[in-house]
């Protein structure tokens, strides 16, 4: 059993940069991925409520197309907080999405994010936040408000009851930084997705955070996402926890 906690789908209204949804399912079948938790985020600095709604409508379409395989995250721009709360009620409360997806429009420690977090607590759903600690100037310049473990830790301190997922430990930034930053924030989960498949990365995360805080994900790097968990030095119980048990428990909290 595998539940991918960090995946995306292709949309008709707001195309995401990947192949079509049938190919996603085909790839998941090859890799034994049973369910994928998907979103369509926008990477622009200030997406409008209409743009956000288009993204979420595309995810809802994919959920209807593959109801047994695709679960949806509701993407939000917290800057439009009234509309964001309304979108959460529509997509999560009304349409059955399983959580919130945030991108780099705000640091997660900024007050602009608080209303969304409070609503997620009320709905008892997770918030998956795009994250990383890029060390090269080009990536940092292109994502000036990307959050890392420090921002998650600050948010978790303010809202310890929130279910927070720091995205893609293998997303390209300094993963040692990201892991260490979360050591004292037990309520924050870490997803294992991303293209980086460095030896020792998963093992360090297990050693410092515990397997019960790791969630399997691919973020479109599907072979790498599965392979890094299969190939890591883990017990079978740890592997099961990461592949699906932890995420199942989060989903059951709704």
């Amino acid at each position: 059993m595998k539940i991918d906690c960090h995946m995306h789908v292709q949309g008709n209204r707001s195309p995401w940069r990947m192949s079509d949804n049938d190919k996603i399912i085909e790839a998941a079948d090859k890799l034994g991925i049973d369910k994928m938790c998907c979103s369509i985020p926008l990477t622009t600095p200030a997406p409008t409520p209409d743009e956000v709604r288009d993204c979420n409508d595309d995810v809802l379409d994919a959920m209807k197309q593959y109801p047994d395989r695709i679960l949806g995250y509701c993407f939000l721009n917290p800057g439009y907080y009234r509309e964001a709360i309304g979108e959460m009620k529509r997509c999560i409360g009304g349409e059955g999405m399983i959580g919130v997806k945030l991108y780099h429009q705000y640091f997660y420690s900024e007050p602009a994010v608080y209303p969304v977090v409070e609503q997620a607590i009320e709905l008892n759903v997770p918030i998956l936040g795009h994250a990383g600690h890029p060390t090269d100037a080009e990536t940092r310049a292109s994502q000036p408000r990307i959050s890392d473990g420090v921002h998650f830790a600050q948010l978790a301190e303010k809202y310890p009851e929130a279910i927070l997922i720091q995205a893609h430990i293998g997303g390209g930034g300094d993963w040692e930084w990201s892991i260490k930053a979360l050591r004292r924030s037990p309520s924050v989960y870490l997803d294992t997705s991303g293209s980086v498949v460095d030896e020792g990365m998963i093992e360090l995360a297990v050693r410092e955070l515990g397997a019960e805080r790791l969630l399997f994900g691919t973020d479109m790097t599907m072979e790498g996402g599965v392979g890094k968990i299969l190939g890591a030095n883990l017990t079978e119980e740890q592997r099961e926890r990461i592949f699906h048990k932890n995420m199942s428990e989060i989903l059951e909290r709704r």
Partner: protein, 259 residues
């Protein structure tokens, strides 16, 4: 036979590696069903005099010469590489692995071409990683950028008879290597560590464009875990014969290995 054309030994200055001794590498290979590996010394990237690292490598792998195939690291801008190259041949090296960004030259510089052509005359392969680590996570003292695809294309145009092996690269399916008939005919191979079997499907696209003889399994151990690269071949929609070529058949031909 599974041959990993993309393995390393030694220390990386910016994070600890495990399995980075000859014994450790063999352990990792055994655990993943890898029979043989082409290996170079990471120290050769950083020592001014890379030849010292080549000598270290030969001593380190001595008990495992049946499994580990040594490639030399040389800097064509460093004094008297010609003598070092001869000594590497005497030490039993089977090819070169070049790091032009770290050694501050481009592949088509005159001295670089001189080194490549000399090695080619001996039937050696020339492996060039597009990058060693993801630059988004590099250490603040690590100034390396990726080797541009255009540099790969340019050096193959200059040396079409040289058996290049390009490692840790992406973007080949959109490059001149699949569009330019003269380049397609050249003797190059592409390691699959960053390619894909699903979604973007770069491996199937390259198989369509270039046939089954151009792709080779290479994982990047011990920087990387080998399972993702192995999984790409496992789930690839291709005949068993094609998969066996990628697992090790193409590399065995290139290196003259007996199974």
């Amino acid at each position: 036979m599974t041959v990993d054309v993309n393995a390393y030994l030694g220390h990386w200055p910016f994070r600890p590696l495990h399995y980075n001794t000859a014994d450790g590498l063999i352990t990792l290979m055994d655990r993943n069903g890898i029979d043989r590996a082409v290996v170079s010394s990471i120290h050769g990237i950083f020592y001014k005099n890379s030849q010292t690292a080549n000598e270290e490598l030969i001593a380190e792998i001595a008990p495992h010469r049946d499994r580990l195939i040594p490639f030399a690291t040389l800097n064509p801008m460093y004094v008297d590489w010609e003598e070092d190259l001869k000594r590497c041949r005497d030490l039993g090296m089977r090819g070169l692995r070049l790091f032009p960004v770290y050694h501050n030259y481009t592949l088509t510089d005159e001295e670089s071409l001189h080194l490549i052509r000399q090695a080619t005359e001996w039937g050696w392969s020339i492996a060039v990683p597009m990058r060693v680590v993801d630059i988004r996570q590099r250490h603040w003292m690590d100034v390396a950028e990726q080797v541009p695809m255009s540099d790969f294309e340019a050096v193959v145009r200059k040396c079409p008879e040289t058996p290049f092996v390009f490692l840790n690269g992406i973007g080949f399916e959109n490059s001149s290597f699949v569009k330019d008939e003269s380049l397609k005919q050249a003797r190059f191979m592409i390691g699959i560590s960053r390619l894909t079997s699903v979604l973007t499907e770069s491996i199937p696209k390259l198989l369509d464009a270039l046939g089954p003889s151009k792709l080779v399994f290479g994982s990047g151990i011990p920087f990387k875990i080998p399972k993702p690269a192995l999984l790409k071949i496992e789930i690839l929609d291709a005949d068993r014969e094609v998969k066996e070529r990628i697992y090790g058949g193409n590399a065995a031909e290139l290196l003259g290995l007996q199974s």
